[in-house]
C-alpha cells in the first residue's frame, strides 16, 4: 500500500457516496455524498424526517440501501468495523428485564471487549448508583444515559450519537454535551445527528445539513452556520426602500418585514448602521426606523431548511 493511500484511509472515518434509500414510494435519501474526516465532531443537522436516522441506519447495516456506497475506515463495511464504533441509534435498545450492568456486559461481549470497564462508563454518565436496577425501571433520561454509556464501552475511536440529548432534562443535556466535548478533546471522531441547531453549534466542528433526504450544505460549522448581521429599516414608502436596498453594495439579502419595513443582511461583523442610513438618504429615502437585529437560531434553521 502506498503511503498516500494509507494516509487517505486513515484520514477518513466515513465516506458516503450517492446514497439512496426508498421506503416503497417514499424517498428517504436522494443521493447523499459525505466525507467525515478523522478527529472531527460532525453534526448531521436536519428537521424531523429529513433522513438523518435513515443515513445512520444504512451506515450501521440495519437498513439496506437502494443504491450508493459506504466506506468505513476506507473499507467496505463489515461487522468488525461496527465493533470499533460506539453507536446510539434512534432509541436506547436494551433487554428490559436485565440491569444496566447485565445489558452492558452483553454489548461488550458482542463488541469483543474482553475486560470492559462497566463501572467506569456508568460513572461517566452518572448512572453508577442505579447500575443494578432493571432497565424497565429507568426513566427516559436514564435510558438515554445508559445508551451513551454503552457507546463508551471499549473506548472506541469513533462514536455515533443520534439525538444524544433526547429525553434529558436541562442539567442532563448540559452534562451530555460536556461529555461529548471531552470525548472530542480526547481526539475521538464523533458523528452526531440532531435537529437542534443550537446543539450542533455548541458541540460540533463540522456540520452537514439534510433536508427532505438531500444534502443542502456541508463544511465547517463557522462557515455553514455563520450568522449574518441583520439590519431592520423602515420608511414611508416601503416599496421604494426595498428597491433601493437591493442595490446597496455588500448586502447578502433583502427581505420584506412587516408593513413599511424590511431587513437587509450583511456578512457577519460587517453591518454598519451609519452606512445604511447614508446610503438610503443619498437615494432620496428618509428612514423612520433603523435597528440592528439579532437573528434567532430558529429563524436561521428555518431559512436553511425551507
Amino acid at each position: 500500500m502506498q503511503w498516500s493511500t494509507y494516509f487517505h484511509y486513515m484520514a477518513h472515518v466515513l465516506e458516503v457516496n450517492n446514497l439512496v434509500k426508498h421506503y416503497g414510494r417514499i424517498q428517504a435519501l436522494k443521493g447523499v455524498s459525505l466525507t467525515i474526516p478523522k478527529g472531527t465532531v460532525y453534526g448531521i443537522l436536519g428537521p424531523n424526517g429529513s433522513g438523518k436516522t435513515t443515513m445512520l441506519g444504512l451506515i450501521m447495516n440495519i437498513l439496506q440501501p437502494t443504491s450508493g456506497s459506504i466506506q468505513l475506515f476506507g473499507e467496505t463495511p463489515t461487522a468488525d468495523h461496527r465493533k470499533k464504533i460506539g453507536t446510539l441509534l434512534e432509541t436506547p435498545n436494551f433487554y428490559h428485564y436485565l440491569s444496566a450492568v447485565q445489558n452492558l456486559r452483553i454489548a461488550a461481549a458482542i463488541k469483543g471487549v474482553s475486560n470492559p470497564d462497566i463501572d467506569g462508563v456508568l460513572e461517566r454518565v452518572n448512572l453508577l448508583q442505579r447500575k443494578d436496577s432493571a432497565f424497565q425501571t429507568y426513566s427516559l433520561g436514564m435510558k438515554q444515559r445508559l445508551a451513551i454509556a454503552s457507546c463508551l464501552i471499549g473506548n472506541p475511536e469513533v462514536m455515533v450519537f443520534d439525538e444524544p440529548t433526547n429525553g434529558l432534562d436541562p442539567v442532563g443535556i448540559a452534562e451530555i454535551r460536556d461529555l461529548i466535548k471531552k470525548l472530542a478533546h480526547e481526539g475521538k471522531t464523533i458523528i452526531m445527528a440532531s435537529h437542534l441547531l443550537d446543539e450542533v453549534e455548541k458541540v460540533c466542528t463540522h456540520v452537514a445539513i439534510l433536508k427532505k433526504g438531500e444534502l443542502i450544505a456541508s463544511g465547517h460549522v463557522d462557515e455553514i452556520l455563520a450568522h449574518d448581521d441583520v439590519v431592520e429599516v423602515g420608511a414611508a414608502n416601503g416599496a421604494a426602500l426595498m428597491q433601493a436596498l437591493r442595490s446597496m453594495p455588500l448586502n447578502t439579502g433583502v427581505h420584506e418585514a412587516e408593513a413599511g419595513k424590511c431587513s437587509i443582511h450583511f456578512a457577519p461583523g460587517t453591518a454598519d448602521l451609519a452606512a445604511v442610513n447614508k446610503y438610503c438618504f443619498d437615494q432620496g429615502i428618509v428612514l423612520n426606523h433603523l435597528q440592528q437585529k439579532k437573528k434567532s437560531l430558529e429563524s436561521k434553521f428555518i431559512e436553511l431548511t425551507e
Partner: protein
C-alpha cells in the same frame, strides 16, 4: 459460535418467563406420561384379558414410541419459548442493537437456529428420561430395540422449534406468533393433513403438512398399526430434512435482506 452462545445465555439467564415455561414443560412431560401410565394400569387391572392382548405400551421397547408420541403433544411449550426468544429481540429492538454493536446479520440468525437445536435436544433428553422412568416402572427390562425413536423425536422437536422460529421471525409480535403457532399446530395442520389423506385415500396428507410429517414419525400407540394410509418412513425422513433445510435457508435470507 461458542461466544455467540455465551451471549445468548446472558440474555436468557435472568429471563423469568423462560425458566417458568421451561419448568412447566419438564413437569408436564412427566405429568402427562404419568397420567396415561396410571390410566393404563387401572384398565389392565380391571380387564386382565385386554392386558394380554395389548403389547404393554410402557414396557421396553414399546415405551420409546409411547412416551415419544405423548411428549410430542407438549412441544408447544418449548415452541413458545422459541417464539419469545425471537420476538423479545424485536420488541426491545435489540435485534438492531446486536447488529449495530457488531454482530453480522448471519450470526444473529445462526445462533438462534442453534438455540432451536439446543431446545430440541433438551426436549429429546426429557423424552429419554421419561421413557427410562416409565419403562422401568412398568417392570420390563431395558432392551436396545426401538432406540431410533430417540432420533425421530429429536427431528420432530427440531421441526417444531424451527416452525416456531419462522413464525416469530416473520410476524415479529409475540402474541400473534404464539396464537398462530398454537392454533395451527393443534388444529389446522391436522385438518389439512387429514383432509388431503381422506380425499385421496393415500398418505399424501402426512407428507404435505409441515408439522404432520414430523408428528407421523410416531404412530398413535395402542391402535397405530390399525390405521389406514400409513406413510412410508423413508419418505417422511426425506421430507423432514427438506423442511429443515428450507427453514434455515428462508430465515437467513429473510434476515439478511430486510430492513431491521
Amino acid at each position: 459460535m461458542k461466544s455467540l452462545l455465551q451471549i445468548e445465555w446472558m440474555k436468557i439467564r435472568h429471563y423469568k418467563t423462560f425458566w417458568i415455561l421451561f419448568a412447566l414443560f419438564i413437569i408436564s412431560v412427566f405429568g402427562l406420561n404419568m397420567i396415561v401410565f396410571k390410566v393404563k394400569q387401572a384398565i389392565d387391572e380391571a380387564d386382565p384379558l385386554l392386558k394380554a392382548m395389548t403389547s404393554g405400551p410402557f414396557g421396553f421397547p414399546e415405551v420409546w414410541k409411547t412416551v415419544g408420541w405423548l411428549t410430542g403433544w407438549l412441544l408447544y411449550f418449548p415452541g413458545f419459548i422459541m417464539i419469545f426468544l425471537v420476538t423479545n429481540e424485536f420488541t426491545y429492538r435489540t435485534h438492531r442493537q446486536n447488529i449495530i454493536d457488531g454482530w453480522s446479520r448471519k450470526q444473529f440468525v445462526s445462533v438462534k437456529l442453534v438455540m432451536a437445536a439446543i431446545l430440541a435436544a433438551i426436549c429429546t433428553l426429557m423424552m429419554v428420561l421419561a421413557s427410562l422412568v416409565f419403562g422401568f416402572a412398568s417392570g420390563t427390562s431395558f432392551s436396545v430395540s426401538n432406540l431410533e425413536f430417540i432420533g425421530y423425536f429429536f427431528l420432530t422437536s427440531y421441526t417444531y422449534m424451527l416452525f416456531a422460529f419462522m413464525l416469530a421471525l416473520f410476524l415479529r409480535r409475540a402474541a400473534l406468533s404464539v396464537g398462530i403457532f398454537f392454533i395451527y399446530a393443534l388444529i389446522f395442520d391436522n385438518l389439512i393433513s387429514g383432509f388431503i389423506s381422506g380425499q385421496t385415500n393415500t398418505p399424501l396428507g402426512s407428507y404435505v403438512a409441515p408439522l404432520q410429517v414430523a408428528d407421523d414419525l410416531f404412530q398413535i400407540p395402542f391402535i397405530g398399526k390399525m390405521l389406514p394410509n400409513r406413510p412410508e418412513l423413508w419418505i417422511l425422513l426425506v421430507i423432514i430434512a427438506a423442511w429443515i433445510v428450507f427453514y434455515h435457508f428462508i430465515s437467513l435470507r429473510k434476515f439478511e435482506k430486510q430492513d431491521l
